[in-house]
Symmetry: D2
Subunit: 341 residues, 4 copies
Amino acid sequence: MLSFESDYTTGAHPAILRRLMETNRESLPGYGSDSYCEQAKYKIREACGCPQAEVFFMTGGTQTNAVVIASMLREYEGVIAAQTGHVSIHEAGAIENTGHKVLELPQKEGRIEASVLEQYLTRFAQDENHEHMVFPGMVSLSHPTEYGTLYTKKELEQISAVCKQYRIPLYLDGARLGYGLMSRKSDMTLADIARLCDVFYIGGTKVGALCGEAVVFTAHNMPPHFLTMAKRRGALLAKGRLLGIQFDTLFTDNLYFEISRHAILMAERLKELFTEKGYRFYLQSPTNQQFVILENRKMEALQKQVAFSFWEQFDEAHTVVRFATSWSTSGEDIAELSKLL
Amino acid sequence: MLSFESDYTTGAHPAILRRLMETNRESLPGYGSDSYCEQAKYKIREACGCPQAEVFFMTGGTQTNAVVIASMLREYEGVIAAQTGHVSIHEAGAIENTGHKVLELPQKEGRIEASVLEQYLTRFAQDENHEHMVFPGMVSLSHPTEYGTLYTKKELEQISAVCKQYRIPLYLDGARLGYGLMSRKSDMTLADIARLCDVFYIGGTKVGALCGEAVVFTAHNMPPHFLTMAKRRGALLAKGRLLGIQFDTLFTDNLYFEISRHAILMAERLKELFTEKGYRFYLQSPTNQQFVILENRKMEALQKQVAFSFWEQFDEAHTVVRFATSWSTSGEDIAELSKLL
Amino acid sequence: MLSFESDYTTGAHPAILRRLMETNRESLPGYGSDSYCEQAKYKIREACGCPQAEVFFMTGGTQTNAVVIASMLREYEGVIAAQTGHVSIHEAGAIENTGHKVLELPQKEGRIEASVLEQYLTRFAQDENHEHMVFPGMVSLSHPTEYGTLYTKKELEQISAVCKQYRIPLYLDGARLGYGLMSRKSDMTLADIARLCDVFYIGGTKVGALCGEAVVFTAHNMPPHFLTMAKRRGALLAKGRLLGIQFDTLFTDNLYFEISRHAILMAERLKELFTEKGYRFYLQSPTNQQFVILENRKMEALQKQVAFSFWEQFDEAHTVVRFATSWSTSGEDIAELSKLL
Amino acid sequence: MLSFESDYTTGAHPAILRRLMETNRESLPGYGSDSYCEQAKYKIREACGCPQAEVFFMTGGTQTNAVVIASMLREYEGVIAAQTGHVSIHEAGAIENTGHKVLELPQKEGRIEASVLEQYLTRFAQDENHEHMVFPGMVSLSHPTEYGTLYTKKELEQISAVCKQYRIPLYLDGARLGYGLMSRKSDMTLADIARLCDVFYIGGTKVGALCGEAVVFTAHNMPPHFLTMAKRRGALLAKGRLLGIQFDTLFTDNLYFEISRHAILMAERLKELFTEKGYRFYLQSPTNQQFVILENRKMEALQKQVAFSFWEQFDEAHTVVRFATSWSTSGEDIAELSKLL
């Protein structure tokens, strides 16, 4: 069956498996202290244009968000995020599990606006009762957002400026960061992200790895004993090589960007296809997730031959569904889908 | 350099990488709902002789301990473990991070005795102030223990009986379970473990996998919404296939047991070698970890050519070190070590 | 200076201090096991018309909310509350500190509507991804709300019915419950509250006590070892008599209701006063808190002679302020205020 | 019935109730910002000879320990305490509830020795795996200990020096601090305690108050937004005056010390009495708790007329019981007990 269900339904990019094979017999120290981890960190620092960056590998997005946020917040602080943010609604309360509130802000197509953020922070500071409230201690953005949309460089600069003004670190959840960077609509490089954020993560799981996310602290601000905090939250792999080798591969010969560019290309062809056939989109996504409005009967027919994700009810007769592309999406997949539409 | 440092210093058993390759292009649903996970669970149930067993895959030992223990304890309960237990001292407080105390009992070579356990539980029940204390809510054993030693079937039966009497679930941390089962000193099968424990995990990371542990609930006692609890503790992989395929491979054609048997054989040859050469052992370990007492100067010389683990100071002039074997230890490694000793 | 700042600015109703004096020399067992606690519990059960009720005393509202909610929720659950609820915004994250999310619903004058609640619960149940979300595990209402408004019996019945349908306990934060019950707009008795809620608390601190809240479990549903859970959250007083004697006094000769009635009467006179003088109200509150819109210059002038609370900015030229009454508000206070207006 | 059960079985010292009466009608701001709290803090600073001390009031000992310890530890740290410490065994896991481990050290009559502490800290620092362990982040002592024993000034100086060397704050749980200071065996003043500890609390509940403990930070080290952290742990009273007025009274005209001296005097007479009558003591306690070994039949007979606490089984025929004195113990009580022995 044809699958556009998600960007994590197939295995890893073949180059990654190849490297795991090649290095398999090497005896390496555990817990991320091996040479592949070191090499991968070096390459990520280079790619970020941020020589002082500290890099730490984890296995998944929710885990990464929880460990990073909990380790950077003080006890009395919470994290600001969009109401539609992954940390707000789709992590089963992983942030609250660490004792911290997600302070939810209204959003537009998944994005927080700098002015809304500023207003929130100003009001908090002015509230006479704020000692009885959760202090905003971090801002967390998803880029691309959960709706596949992007912040422009200017928007991110504005948000970053507000954060600096209020001395609150800016964190960027980059579960699909590659797709954001390689989108034609993107006006940002990885170096821009590194410059504007205090900490962010480069998603591997959804961009061609078996698992793995690379957290990047850009300002000498990795919390002390971060490894211990990762360990105590169950986020430290004994065979840390599994993450090091994957990221070393992803950041060799631009593979991370090539994978992302390929998926973007496939998404653009999907988009053209749906447009040609007269389908409407729920919103204009410039990344690898496309949100299409299907007539319910069409959807049911299609489901028999193509896997995609239910997103939400549109109206009585229509449904919003998501088509996603990845490293493994091929021109044949698109051609086959074309026949079915 | 020759390495006996640990059982997690090399990659995965080649059969596992092969299967990851073969299945890589298949499009599979995420979060452990794929057919390989299903198949692996089926095979584990068979291997446990426990058709009702519920199986859940996680990525590492500390993570598994924290999620299982936290999800089975009630708020006012703690978990009983040996003072030397991994949960007590080497998980950076992962259990306490979930809000629960580790109630530490004295031990012998890593083992808790049933009589000591019973006495503890009786005293607690009789203590007039016990409403002001942490209630014992679970017993956690490591098998093999952190010292490579084993419980006999009789010992485990006794502990299990005490647990039943006090209605406290018995949990077994099987990070190295294969080595325990294939040891010549073992009088237990996997089915015995499943019969005597309420929940346990079959360690993959240290027995030939890239990562992964299989939690087995033996008595229709998997906590409701366990997946959600795993998710909120950052223990749910998007590409759950990575765990399913590995355990499916490990439980096909007895691979898990073959890997374990091989390492045990290598450990026995290590043991003979050290005995022949006149070395003393810190204790008699029947599993893949051997604790040897080295004269300090000898140790320093050896370290230049062989990797092994520091365990503890023995006396002024001697040190206890650990040699571990795994799927990748070869006869040549032993032969080479022989020359160096 | 004249004070209408809050209902917790003066000490305790004199009858309470008198009883503390009279009983001071008696030697009583600790931790709430004394005869005054027993007596107070009995009287509260009577007042609730709920012979099976289990009652537990705590010292303050935030503490009570956190202990009750955390002890009743399962690990993967959160509590539903109004966006304006005390647990949502004015407890410094006390609920999140217990690891649970506050699932915030839109509100009207502080009240949640049954239909909004039902829609939320239905959508959650239907969401295919709900295993990745926080499960709604409890509904928490404030009555009176933070805006001084009340649920009608019908509204509470509807909400209670929705909770029953979805098998979610209904909790009522009654920090100012007395004022709610004695309001002329109230069509509910304490017995109605007990009948419709699974658990609620009768606020003492804001209704004439020095400190203290009485939690009432109405359905044989006090979590086992609740005392231990209170202890571990720092909510157990050694001299439990302090709470027992106060509630025994409050529930003797209807004192709790008399105090409340008095404050309501004073609030009504306040209301008349402001109305007569042509002031506008931010909303119609039928309880002891009155929200008045003051012209900014008037407010500044008044502040020099009367204490009241800033509530929120109304517009450029006006501010919403709160006047509250309590057991200690006297006719003279009102008369004096009248002169100042 | 005659009662020596504990030091919290009667109400408050009459002077405290009197002040509560006198101030009852005054309208005061909430949450500890009133003038009585300010005054009490000033007097405590004076009594401590520590003008820079920051003082915060809480309601009970377990609450105080949990809030102070959790707010001073970093995420990856635990608190060192004696195996017999209140935080270790009699707080129902309140410290673990905050996510932190209690690192239990062996003790003698409730006391930790500086050398044992130093050895522990040295070993930790030298352990190659310590990044996988809980970091010692604080030392918590009880003074008097749970066995009524005392540290000498020299012992506390030694422990304080070890803490300074390892840059770990020293915390002293002074639930019964007054009795420690007024004991004839004490060679320390409150100023010594303030000089040697980074933070400690002056217990009120067990020394004549209705409730209340005064936390003293001695080195400009009160964690920022401590009020917010207290609030989120349910430890902030709305009517903070209740604590302020009590401590203001206790630290006026040396009342705190007078109460303590009285109880010590009564305890000495108890001691003489038991000695005269030929009873043995479990240990020599110089404070208000006396641990007597009773023949079981004698104990049962006595229990009918005197309340005391079971401590532990001594042997088949004997039991250790505790007799405690307080502000309310009178010469008549002792005389009456004398007749019964």
